[in-house]
Amino acid sequence: MSPADRLVPGAAGAETLVFELPNDIASIEGAVDHAVEHCVPAGLDRRRLLFNFRVGLTEAISNAMLYGSSGGSDTRVRVELTAVPGEVRVRVSDQGGGFDPEAVPDPRLPENLTLPDGRGVFVMRALMDEVRFNRRGNAVTLVLREPPGDGPTYRRLPKPVAETLEDFDTQPGLDVRAWEVVAGERVPVHGSGGGGSRTSVGHSFTVPLGTDRELEVEVAGDGPGSALAGILRASLERAGSLAREVDRSRNALAAALEANRTIREDIARERLTREMELAHDLQMKLLPPIPRVPGVEAAARVMPATSVGGDFYQVIQLSGGRVGVMIGDVSGHGFPAALIMALVMSAAAIYAEEGAAPAAVLEYVDRAIGDELESTEMYLSLCYCVLSPGTAEIAYSNAGHPHAFVVEAGGGARRLFATDPPMGIGAAPYGQSVADWRPGEDILLLFTDGLSDTLAHTGRNSGEDLVLQTVSARHRSRADEILDELFELCRRATPSIPSDDRTAVVLRTL
């Protein structure tokens, strides 16, 4: 349930879920899935719920947004949903002037068949069991029902047969024995039904317990016992019929629980498939292997998060024995972030491989994805460094990436400060800077927020300090061993899957 929801008690114990949506068509899909989860008590067929109901509600909400708004973007669409066993009822209303649903022409007529619009009301009516507009035409009520006959049964739970039998055992002078008979097999269920001697059997009778089983009862006793046996029989017959109800209810309940589970799973799976798995696979596939460049030792790693972020790195072999190192972090998550990341990486690689200077590479990337960033309102930090084995300089451009360092052998670290704001906030031309570099001694260390944020919770020092200390302490180790140490620290800090990607690149030259 989202914070804006209200649950309003209604008739017959049903609650009405009420929520409002902004006039934004992008919010429809999530709202519809949210509503579906509230439909579970209806116990409707899963397929009808996931198809008919979702399409019908999508139509109603999009109608309200597209045609029902009074113009302003602050207008809202209200959804009220009630689910009772066998029926889901949802009312969608807007603040607009309404329209006449009867005036909508039949979209199936040949002259209307190729029109792009005008099918919404028809589709609603075709898929829902009932569609009713209010007089003004700015509210519609949709009803989806279980087909009559095989609906689940919900009654007050009956008193079980066993309890009835035990009640009568306390009566003096009465000996009750019972067997359950299932498919011809007779199993003692009450009293010493398995054996024992008995002076006389006063009464015996059978009570049906379900379609395929019954209860055989023998009552021994005299005097008041024979009168009680009659009452017992009547009580058991009532209990038996109630037991059959219990069975039906239990089955219906199990079916409803199963439907609940599978509906949630279906929705979750759909989201997973299309948002995370796609984006995540894409992200992992795109991260290229580290090339073997003579005189360069490099390692890089991403520990991906639950919701996919847009971290990326690449190490590019350049002409003249040089090597380019890039790290970036796209704001936002999921598929859009992965898409931006893919675009940045391919654009950057093309230009970097031509040997362009860091500032020129960033400018080229900006040209390639500037429109995409603007339309999605995303931005990214991007740092690109170029090194040559044996030379004492590192050239870099840094568009707002916070964690780029040269870690010295003596334990110090120099920050490669940003030359520009993040891409998407700042714009071309990009600046470029030079830092001192001691081949064989210095380590280039680039990492993203996910790494330092995780470690920030582990000690008194900031996460960034802890990363730097770890790398300094391991200064003589191989690049991949340094990363092992960093990621092991992270794993210990939060053993669960992280909420943000953690990425680090370590590189040294000879």
Binding site: I28, R47, F51, L115, V123, E270, L278
Partner: protein, 109 residues
């Protein structure tokens, strides 16, 4: 939701993973029109991974089919499940489209 574009020979195949509805239909339109602009003429929209389509989604397919036809191209719809097929039948839109049982059929026909 997402649309995945793949190429098989001359044909562009767009897979609708999730829903095709009012909230994302423009994305599909942009993707296919860009391909049309690039010279692609054979299109398949693959619904194997689709949950549902609303009337806006149907509308965008009608519009695209017209644009592709006008450019001398061909649009086929593949792998509709029973519910989606019913939707095309109820709206009589199946008469407008070439509907194929599977992606293989759409690509080999």
């Amino acid at each position: 939701m997402s649309f995945n574009l793949r190429r098989f020979g001359q044909a562009a195949v767009v897979e609708v993973a999730g829903q095709l509805i009012v909230g994302n239909r423009q994305e599909l339109k942009r993707m296919i029109l860009a391909e049309l602009e690039e010279g692609t003429r054979q299109f398949v929209v693959d619904f194997a991974l689709t949950g549902y389509i609303d009337s806006s989604g149907l509308g965008i397919l009608v519009g695209l089919s017209k644009k592709i036809r006008e450019a001398g191209g061909r649009l086929r719809l593949a792998s509709l499940n029973e519910d989606l097929r019913t939707l095309f039948e109820l709206t009589k839109l199946y008469t407008l489209f070439e509907i194929c049982d599977s992606l293989e059929e759409a690509l080999t026909e």
